[in-house]
Amino acid sequence: MDDALLVVLLLADATIRVATPLVLAAFAALYSERAGVVDIGLEGKMLAGAFFAAAVASSTGNPWLGLAAAVAASVALALVHGFACITHKGNQVVSGMAINILVAGLAPTLAYAWFRQGGQTPLLPGEARLPQVHLPGVAALSGIPILGPVYRELIDDANVLIWLTVLLVVATHWVFTRSRFGLRLRAVGENPSAVDTAGLSVTRLRYQAVIITGVLTGIAGAYLSTAHGAGFVRDMTAGKGYLALAALIFGKWRPWPTLFACLLFAFTDAVQVRLQGVPLPVVGVIPVQFIQMLPYVLTVLLLAGFVGRAVAPRASGVPYVKER
């Protein structure tokens, strides 16, 4: 009984740790896409964040400076995306793709030139990584049957960015349903000319949205290299940016369903790791490659089956041209 509980808790713990960068990236895209700017450049912005967080944390020993550098780099890329898509009305998918390819080349190039370790940063020592939050009363609660282990395994010693992500989810819900800014963002993604007629700047609102996207993807990247991992390795995002985008579409561009989709993908990933090499009833041992492709197959099936024709924000992907 206790063993079963522990397995469930460890699985839940792994799910949360894997879900965190997905949630950050998916919510980042939520702001951008609800404002009408499609962003498939999440992958690149996360990778840039991961690299600069690790590079700065490694040279200064301070993970917070790393986090700041990650956000700065990611926001810079978000501004490039904004400059191309909002100011110059360029193709948004192409711009996102360009950013992904650019960073996939740039991060290892810079890492190689600065650290000479084959495109990686050095392994970060404990104090150069973002800390876990240690909560009081673990020992005191330990004796209580279910609550004790749950508190010990799940809630205590979570990384500081996991708590930030929890905060972000709640805040985002509030922003999109209650705040003036959020309602305007939603409006600019549905009907920019109405927003323009109301005397608000479409350009300004969309730039604000992509900057928020940049901040959040930067944090997601920093999580990968300085909280979850201990340093930057090449291609460490490994498709998480694309999965986050799929989660956003699966969540129909709404905060809570998107969170749920991220948790589902993270759960498949956590299960995937545990299933490797384990014989299953009836089918036996499944080759590891098939287990690894579970999240991707799941994405395709979910998008094809459950979502059906997903309704994107109406002005999504369309540059706004002011009437003359």
Partner: protein, 386 residues
Amino acid sequence: MAQDAAQGVTGRGFGRPGEAPGWVGYALLPLLNLLAALVLSGLVILVIGENPLDVLALLVTEAVGYPEAIGYTLYYTTSYIFTGLAVAIAFHCGLFNIGGEGQAYLGGLGAGLVGLALTGWPWPVAALGAVALSALFGAAWGAVPGWLQAKRGSHIVITTIMFNFIAAAIMTYLLVDVLIRPGSQSPETREFDPGVWLPTMDRALGWVGVAIPASPLNLSFLWALACCALFYVFLWRTRWGYEIRTVGRNERAAVYAGISPARNIILAMAISGALAGFVGVNEIMGVQHRILLNFTGGVGFVGIAVALMGRNHPVGIILAALLFGVLAQGGGQVSFEYPTVNRELVMVIQGLVILFAGALENLFKPRVEALFRRRSGGHDGGTAHG
């Protein structure tokens, strides 16, 4: 497309008085965009501590400076023509095919299975078989996302990306557990019988008495050029091509004209996948002579840049593929000469070219066109609109 609409609203259609001549749009602006991308690449090279001019000079020399290098450059160009055409035909149907990588990977599987099966047969049979099966495998891998987009409304960008990951997993499984050469440690098949190898260009030209240095360039280069011609005829001279372009321009108008968007989306994606699949003929039948892991190495993504720079037209695609061939061959050589430069530098340049040629294509347009208006005199100074 959206940009077309934007241009319409701001009154920059063709044939207006004071409009810049055609070569500005097709040659000058792409060159300016390319130049901007190269300048920024130079800055990156400066940041990693090398002299950009030296690096770029070496890059060009190593790509086109001597006959053997040209062979290598054209070998890269071949694959880029295939993926460029693949992205372009999807573009003409209004679709963004990011799945060229996976389609090329499975196309290589198709070509490779032919190579493994046809031991003892003459190479022309193997070549035809490889073309057919790589097209079939690539087309299947492209058509499924097309079908999902057309019938189920799944976002084609997301599904093609997922199909890239799934293709990679399937190929890893096949090479590690099924097709691996018995007793071998590295995940690759046995080498094909030399009789079925696609002849290299130096060998083929040797038959007619022309001697060129040996390089991986093989007969699939000619097939790539043929595909460009077929692409042109299909898209602009046949009814199917017309239907595909109509769906891409205006889906609702297409429906009104009795054209089925769903059928054309699936058709365009199948052709797109088949074209990407031909990368397998070049790589597997022409050069590697065995199926191995990750032989595609990003050609699907480069195809996006090639199609964008080539304005989705076969002639433009050949020129853009040449440019990226130069980058791939020259960039690889540069990384041997400079200890601080690694192969990924090529991806930086590619990314910047996509950014400037694709997403920022209108960056210099207003200024350049204003320049031409001023030069052509005052009689058309105030283009009437609004």
